[in-house]
C-alpha cells in the first residue's frame, strides 16, 4: 500500500484532499501545523477530521517569531479585512509558510518511506498566495529531485486547477463532513462571513448550488 503525508489545516480544501488521497488507496499520515494562528479553531477541525478518518496525525508546533503576516500578528485588529478582488498579495500571506510546511512533510516522508505528499493548494478561487500556484509545485518537484535522498517523492495537488464550486462537489462525492471543516480566518463559534476565506467558501457553495454548512 502506498504511503502519503497529507497537509491538513482543517479547512475545506485540505480535508477534501485527505479524503481524495484515501479514495486513491493511499495509507495516509496527516501533518497539522500550529504556527501562531490567531485562533485554534481550525486545529480542532483538523484533528477531528483526522480522527474521523482514522488517519494518524501529528500536530507540529512551529514558531515564526518574525511575524510578517496579519494571520499571525498579535495585534487584534490587524488587517483581516477583505482583500479578494484587489491586486497583489494579501496581508494574510504568511512568509514562506507552505515551503516550511512542505519541508517538514518531506522530512517525514523520507523518514517513513512515503511515496507522496498531498496538498490542497488551489490556484483558481484562491487568495493570491504565490505558493498556491502550479509553477511553485513544479519547482518543488525539481528541488526534491536535486536535493533529497529520496528523489521520487511526489507532490500531489489534486485541487490546484479546480474552482471552489468543483471542490465542494468533489467533497460531497467523497462524503467529506463539510460541517466539521473550518475555513474562517477568525476564531469564534461561527464563521465571520466577511473575511476572504469565508467569502471564497460562500461563493463556492453558491456556485455549486448548495447551502454553506
Amino acid at each position: 500500500m502506498k504511503k502519503a503525508i497529507v497537509l491538513l489545516s482543517g479547512g475545506l480544501d485540505s480535508s477534501t484532499t485527505l479524503y481524495h488521497a484515501k479514495s486513491r488507496g493511499y495509507d495516509c499520515r496527516a501533518l497539522i501545523f500550529e504556527y501562531g494562528q490567531k485562533h485554534s479553531r481550525e486545529l480542532k477541525s483538523a484533528a477531528a477530521i483526522a480522527r474521523l478518518t482514522k488517519t494518524p496525525y501529528r500536530i507540529m508546533k512551529i514558531k515564526l517569531p518574525w511575524g510578517g503576516s496579519a494571520l499571525i500578528s498579535k495585534r487584534r485588529q490587524c488587517a483581516l479585512s477583505p482583500f479578494v478582488g484587489k491586486k497583489g498579495i494579501p496581508p494574510t500571506y504568511v512568509p514562506a509558510r507552505n515551503t516550511i510546511f512542505i519541508s517538514f512533510a518531506l522530512s517525514y516522508a523520507e523518514a517513513i518511506g512515503a511515496d507522496a505528499i498531498f496538498i490542497g493548494a488551489n490556484a483558481i478561487d484562491y487568495s493570491g498566495y504565490p505558493d498556491c500556484r502550479p509553477e511553485y509545485y513544479k519547482a518543488l518537484q525539481v528541488l526534491i529531485k536535486k536535493g533529497l535522498r529520496d528523489r521520487h517523492i511526489k507532490i500531489v495537488t489534486p485541487l490546484i486547477k479546480m474552482t471552489k464550486a468543483q471542490i465542494i462537489k468533489l467533497a460531497r462525492k467523497l462524503d467529506v463532513p463539510l460541517e466539521i471543516t473550518w475555513s474562517c480566518y477568525k476564531g469564534g463559534k461561527k464563521p465571520c462571513g466577511t473575511c476572504d476565506s469565508c467569502r471564497l467558501r460562500d461563493k463556492g457553495f453558491a456556485e455549486a448550488g448548495l447551502t454553506n454548512i
Copy 2:
C-alpha cells in the same frame, strides 16, 4: 546596508560563511537550529560566534519526531562511525534538514526584507549529502522565484566549490576564531577525531599545512 540571514551551526564552514558575509558588507542575522542533535556543544559554539561578531541571533527549536538519522537518533551507538569514502548517502543525513532550515530562513528574510541567505554548504570535501550540491541551490533559487512574495532573495553559498583546505585558508584570512568552532558529530570536551566531520576537518588542516585547533 544590505541585510542577510546566515545559517549558523557553529562549525568551521558556517562560521567562515558568517565572517565572509560580514566582510562583504551585509548586516547579518544568524539562525541557529536546535533540532534534536545528540549534543548541544555545537549550539554553544554557534551562539559564541554570533555574540563575538555582534550578530543578532535566534535559536530555533524544531522537533523532527520521525527521526530517520543517526545524528538525531536517541540510540547512543547509532552509526556515527566513519562513512567517508563509501558510496551513497551516509546515515548522518537528516531527512530534508537543509530544506527545513532554509525555509525558515526564507520566512525570516521575507519578514524583515533581507536580500540574501548565506549557507556554508560545500560540495567538494563534503559528507555525501544531496542538499549540499550546487544543483540543489539552483533549484532553490527557482523555487523562490516561483513561490515567494519576495522573488529576489538570493541564496549565497560562498564555499560550495572550495576544498576544506581552501575554506580553512579563507577562515584564517577573515580572522575566524577557529578554536571556538565545533565540527565533531559527538559532544564532549574534545572532538572525537574519528567521526566523518572530524576527519574532514583534520584533512583540511593538514592540506592547508596548518595545525587543527
